[in-house]
């Protein structure tokens, strides 16, 4: 606990220092104008750590050096025309950045992600380059990509891919901040900075709106049932816990500090006595299963019927996808219908998918 806090403080300090060091001039270097002369001297641009904003976004001048989320400095020599991604979150980012026409390879089993069928059906026919846990090096090289986007878990493949002459960027969108960093990285590397800035601004604006309308309201206790099992839940360090907090709820499992799903017991759930039970988007069991579970008899959420599942019609809103903020927007509508009425929630969700993915969510939900 103390070590974690100390680390957080050190990290926070480091972030503040780096921001101060970069300041506005550094953000300014992310503009197209600055390196016009320097590019002639082949002095590539170094990316600032700040997330892009509509003010700082500009056209990327190549070659550009970016620092990816593995901390590697990567030179992207020209605007990439052929992209591959082996991780559903980064693949979804490429769609949100309007790059779907340039994507030539995606992860295995794209049919499992409804967002592809809705906004980039051509992905279902694309060649597969592996999974988020294992990359098919040959298949990847055969596609002759200009840029390979991989999750941090696949860092071991970096050397092999570089040896094949490929440009690789690692992303690690594990929470909202890292997601914004990943969007900034991809926005600069693929010359879609304005779009990345809009995406980030959308999420930030919704987070601010929720904070405003939910200021001072009573916060109900929420239990989040995991994907694989109702008795799996997310502790404070997980993205899902942030989502509950942002939506104006209290995660009953916040005392748990693990960074992955943890096992709990019926007894523990009864002792927490949540007022709302929320099921993860990809839960292998249903709301009806939970309501009918005799072991949960007497739990407030069951007695009041407050059991809901995070919708997964487009994508899992309890994962840090570009539209992840919609999970908090949707949950706030469930927990605080007075402050966040249903029509307003639906409007926000529609606006997001129309703007960044080109379909109307309310038509498919």
């Amino acid at each position: 606990m103390h070590i974690n806090r100390l680390l957080s403080l050190l990290l926070a300090g480091a972030v503040v220092l780096s921001l101060a060091a970069c300041g506005s001039p550094a953000a300014g270097t992310a503009t197209a104008g600055a390196p016009a002369s320097s590019s002639q001297q082949e002095q590539p641009l170094l990316l600032a750590d700040d997330p892009l904003t509509p003010e700082t976004a500009a056209a990327t001048t190549y070659p550009v050096i970016v620092t990816d989320q593995a901390g590697r400095k990567v030179t992207v020599s020209s605007e990439p025309r052929r992209l591959v991604s082996s991780y559903y979150i980064s693949t979804s980012m490429l769609i949100a950045l309007g790059l779907q026409d340039r994507v030539v390879g995606v992860e295995n089993q794209p049919e499992k992600r409804p967002i592809y069928a809705l906004s980039a059906p051509e992905f279902l026919e694309l060649a597969s380059i592996g999974t988020a846990k294992e990359i098919d090096l040959e298949a990847c090289a055969a596609l002759k990509p200009d840029l390979v986007v991989l999750p941090l878990k696949l860092l071991d493949s970096a050397e092999s891919l570089e040896a094949l002459g490929l440009t690789v960027l690692y992303v690690n969108p594990e929470n909202q901040q890292l997601l914004e960093e990943a969007l900034t990285l991809l926005g600069v590397a693929t010359n879609t900075q304005a779009r990345a800035a809009d995406l980030i601004a959308f999420s930030d604006a919704q987070a601010d709106r929720l904070a405003d309308v939910l200021a001072g309201v009573a916060k109900p206790k929420v239990y989040l049932g995991g994907n694989s099992d109702f008795l799996n839940t997310a502790g404070a360090a997980m993205y899902q816990s942030d989502l509950i907090t942002m939506a104006g709820g209290i995660n009953v499992a916040a005392e748990i500090t693990d960074t992955y799903w943890v096992q709990t017991s019926y007894e523990q759930v009864l002792a927490w006595d949540p007022e709302y039970i929320i099921l993860a988007s990809d839960a292998t069991y249903t709301v009806a299963d939970v309501l009918a579970d005799p072991n949960l008899e007497g739990c407030t959420a069951i007695e009041t019927g407050h059991v809901y599942q995070i919708p997964g019609n487009a994508e899992a809103w309890d994962s840090p996808v570009p539209g992840g903020i919609l999970g908090a927007v949707w949950l706030a509508g469930i927990l605080h219908p007075e402050q966040c009425p249903a029509d307003e929630t639906a409007e926000v969700i529609d606006e997001f998918y129309q703007t960044f993915y080109g379909f109307t969510y309310s038509e498919i939900a």
């Binding site: 988020a132 994907n227 099992d229 943890v262 096992q263 709990t264 017991s265 007894e267 523990q268 002792a271």
Partner: protein, 337 residues
């Protein structure tokens, strides 16, 4: 081999020492059972239970009591079945995995997680997997008419590998975020999902099988003899061995299909018992069962109380069991064969 040569002296619980050890073991088991009944995340109080607090009574009867029962009976069955395996195979390393039962249970559970829904279905699928593995191992061994003991071990190894391959294929097709995680959690083994609504059939089967094993205790001990000797004593070795293994395996299947894999109990409890009694008789089998119950109940108490989350019970069966076994071996090496 002298110590496990069948003789009238070894066929009944006559040893004063064994009786004493069993009594002490039972006392420890009872203490642990009481501790288990009052250890858990939901705050239970005597006043609440006596005063008829509906919620507390529900937690006590459907969750706490059933979890304790599975720890006691399940641990006892694993210990007693382990004794049977080691005796019948005359091999101190024998365990249900020798004939692929636990691998079969894992593969069955994985199939249940992938293709069925609900905890009861996974338990049923796991049980079916364990039975299928056992049936296959016994059928394969029956192909060899010579009735050699090694045949069943070889058949078991083949079935174990087959079940592992099936498990790997199932894992490969599983969704990494949901199903694969479920399979891994299942394999880790835990008593956290146990409730009064899900254990009835399994515990009953388990208790019946254990009772049958004790009724057959003379024959079990006879099976540890050289085959020639057993035959001379009028035992149909091949059939008896199959029958005893079948019953022991049913008991193990009933437990692991409910809890997931639990390591070490089936191996350690009978060893511990033999090191303590220096015998190989029904009393030792009883003590093996008691030690199994003590180990699983003790481990489960720790699994649910040392952290804010539920931990896999096998971590504690190994942590508690290994030092105990080492102490026993160091102290009793001379007298143990």
């Amino acid at each position: 081999m002298n110590s496990i040569r069948p003789s009238m002296a070894l066929l009944t619980v006559r040893s004063h020492k064994t009786a004493l050890l069993c009594t002490a073991g039972m006392a420890l088991l009872i203490v642990l059972a009481v501790v288990s009944l009052f250890t858990g995340k939901y705050p239970l109080t005597w006043q609440g239970l006596a005063g008829g607090d509906g919620m507390q009574l529900r937690v006590f009867y459907t969750l706490r009591l059933s979890r304790t029962a599975v720890g006691l009976i399940g641990g006892f069955a694993l210990g007693a079945a382990g004794f049977v395996y080691q005796t019948v195979f005359r091999n101190p390393l024998a365990s249900p995995d020798v004939i692929g039962v636990t691998s079969g249970a894992s593969a069955g559970a994985a199939a249940g997680i992938l293709f069925l829904s609900g905890a009861a279905a996974v338990t049923a699928a796991s049980f079916a997997g364990a039975l299928a593995a056992m049936g296959l191992a016994l059928a394969l061994s029956a192909l060899d008419q010579s009735g050699k003991q090694a045949t069943i071990v070889l058949a078991g190894i083949a079935v174990h590998s087959l079940a592992q391959t099936a498990l790997m294929c199932l894992k490969l097709t599983a969704d990494p975020e949901r199903e694969l995680a479920s399979i891994e959690y299942w394999i880790m083994g835990s008593l956290n999902g146990i409730s009064g609504y899900s254990i009835g059939g399994n515990l009953l089967l388990c208790a019946v099988c254990v009772a049958v094993l004790f009724l057959l205790h003379r024959q079990v001990v006879l099976l540890s003899a050289e085959e020639g000797e057993a035959r001379m004593l009028g035992v149909s070795v091949g059939k008896l061995r199959l029958a005893v293994l079948l019953v022991a395996t049913l008991a193990v299947s009933a437990v692991v299909s409910l809890t997931g894999l639990i390591s070490f109990v089936g191996l350690l409890a009978p060893h511990g018992a033999r090191l303590l009694t220096r015998r190989n008789d029904a009393g030792t089998m009883l003590l093996g069962g008691i030690l199994g119950g003590v180990l699983l109940t003790g481990a489960d108490i720790l699994a649910r109380s040392v952290a804010a989350t539920e931990l896999p019970v096998s971590i504690f069966t190994s942590l508690l069991g290994a030092p105990f076994l080492i102490v026993l071996i160091v102290r009793g090496r001379k007298g143990y064969e």
